[in-house]
Amino acid sequence: MTDLAAGVAAAPRLAEIDVPGRTRQEQVFDWLLRGAFLVMLVWSFVPSDMHRIGEVLTGGGNMAMLLGDFFEPNFRYWRTYLDLMLETVQMAVWGSFLSVLLAVPFGLMSSANLVPAWLHFPVRRLMDAFRAINELVFALIFVAAVGLGPLAGVLALTIHTTGTLAKLFSEAVEAIDPRPVEGIRATGSSRLQEIIYGVIPQVLPLWISFSLYRFEANVRSATVLGIVGAGGIGMSLSEALRGFDYAAGAAILLIILLTVSLFDIFGARLRKVVIDGEEHIRFAGYLAFLAAIVIGIEIVLRTGPV
């Protein structure tokens, strides 16, 4: 009886067990990371003008004036703005479509599980190059090649987006389950048929989702291409801002903001429907809503005073 009582009393005084902490090596690594981060910040401080950051506050007067103009947007030329915004979206439509067409073969050709290294290595490097250069730079090049206007913008979007989509497409292909492909191969199919029956059905929802996402991104990118004369609303925006007409600039920015948000919100929902593969009716509803907006704008623009 006394033994038992002693046992209960002794229970809280269990022997200490070492809690395993981070090893020496891990600790050194932690400090290395922190040090590298700090060095990076200090190294870029002066070259990026960070010693002048206080001027954001001291230049308050200018800022206030700018903001004041922005809060009184001038929609006098709204017909032109809407027209140019539609052109911007239309450029994104064709830029995205052409890039999807190109990204399918390029994406398949940069998938390590489908093609040998001598093919996917150079194709990947080419796609890297497409991706590394900004749309604006491509637009400058194409303006020189095909002249001012939306065609240069569409080509710029096409090249850059092909690089991005091909990479995303090939990553989806490299993550597929190889067993269904083997099942198709075992029926005596050709290589191309293996891809069409075994690979594409597995990656299609992802591919559609990526393409929709890139379309949204292209609407955003297309709004600035006009700055270098490659079509779209960017031209008007840069003219307004350079002419210190901030009220007009604000109107254009608001239209861009509205359009881009609309595509962001609906794009995300459409992508969700595609991935889940259900709710076809809702999908049709979203599309009908977007179509109604576009048709409405077209009618207003065409029937209004010239």
């Binding site: 099942g183 075992a186 029926t187 929802p205």
Partner: protein
């Protein structure tokens, strides 16, 4: 060209396979399956059953050179000396393969999955564009009806149960008009009722069409029940090749040792026999 009738369905001669990690999966394996035979291939996990089947289907190549041996199906060479034959697609067309994980394309309909079995037997452009003729679709529906799942034709393959998926895979083999079938652990992922159903369908195809079937199994009971002949493997070697009824529990223990328990379901007969033995031992010790 010799008489086609004389060709065995499957011929494997002196095939060895060493994987990249140095594991010897097949060691000088030679096996022959005659036309119209139904043969079980048994062995514990890692004994080389699947590897052998994947070699016969030309999905894996054996070691380079001498060690690669030679594999022929229906008189046509699949691979030799570790190199796939150039006409491997033509041989695959005549050879149906059924996999443990079914290997259907989950997002395609059951019907399209079954129709894929025709790919090797129709013009390439039509297969590539997924354009199937009415007679082809009819044949696919007949095959689905034979395995008893014609009502699932329009469903995506992913929505089917394991047993139904395996039957769809068999329907694909039927549509393919395979002259020989390789089945790699077709029932290992199925419940007992589905497993029996699948084995009965395979056995029926073997009997009525005379299609040779090589089926790898994890459990000896199914081999005894459905196949006259059994090939047993262990550590990449063939350790038994003969009538299935010679595979008594004692004999299995002799070749597999402790691992034999993995291969034997305590079915009624064995249970009774074991019980009897135990009683005799009790009597003897008394």
């Amino acid at each position: 060209m010799t008489d086609i009738q004389n060709h065995p369905a499957i011929q494997v001669r002196n095939v060895s396979k060493t994987f990249g990690n140095g594991r010897r999966a097949l060691v000088d394996v030679s096996v022959e399956i005659g036309a119209g035979e139904m043969v079980a291939l048994i062995g514990a996990s890692g004994s080389g059953k699947s590897t052998l089947i994947r070699h016969i289907a030309g999905l894996v190549v054996a070691n380079r050179g001498e060690e690669g041996g030679e594999i022929a199906v229906l008189g046509e060479q699949v691979q030799a000396g570790g190199k796939l034959s150039r006409d491997v697609a033509r041989i695959r067309r005549r050879l149906g393969v059924i996999f443990q994980q079914f290997n259907l394309v989950p997002r395609l309909t059951v019907l399209t999955n079954v129709l894929a079995g025709r790919l090797g037997r129709m013009p390439k452009w039509r297969g590539t564009l997924m354009q199937f003729s009415h007679p082809e679709k009819q044949r696919a529906m007949q095959a689905l009806s034979r395995v008893g799942i014609e009502i699932t034709a329009r469903q995506r393959a992913a929505t089917l149960s394991g047993g139904q998926q395996q039957r769809a895979a068999i329907a694909r083999c039927l549509v393919q008009e395979s002259e020989a079938i390789l089945a790699d652990e077709p029932i290992a992922s199925l419940d007992p009722a589905s497993a029996r159903r699948v084995m009965e369908i395979l056995s029926d195809i073997n009997r009525s069409e005379g299609t040779a079937v090589l089926v790898s199994l994890h459990q000896v009971e199914y081999a005894r029940r459905y196949c006259r002949r059994t090939i047993a493997m262990r550590d990449g070697r063939v350790v038994f090749d003969g009538p299935s009824h010679d595979l008594t529990t004692d004999f299995l223990r002799e070749i597999y040792g402790e691992a034999s328990e993995e291969l034997i379901l305590p079915d009624a007969e064995d249970f009774a026999a074991a019980h009897e033995q135990a009683e005799q031992r009790l009597v003897a010790s008394a």
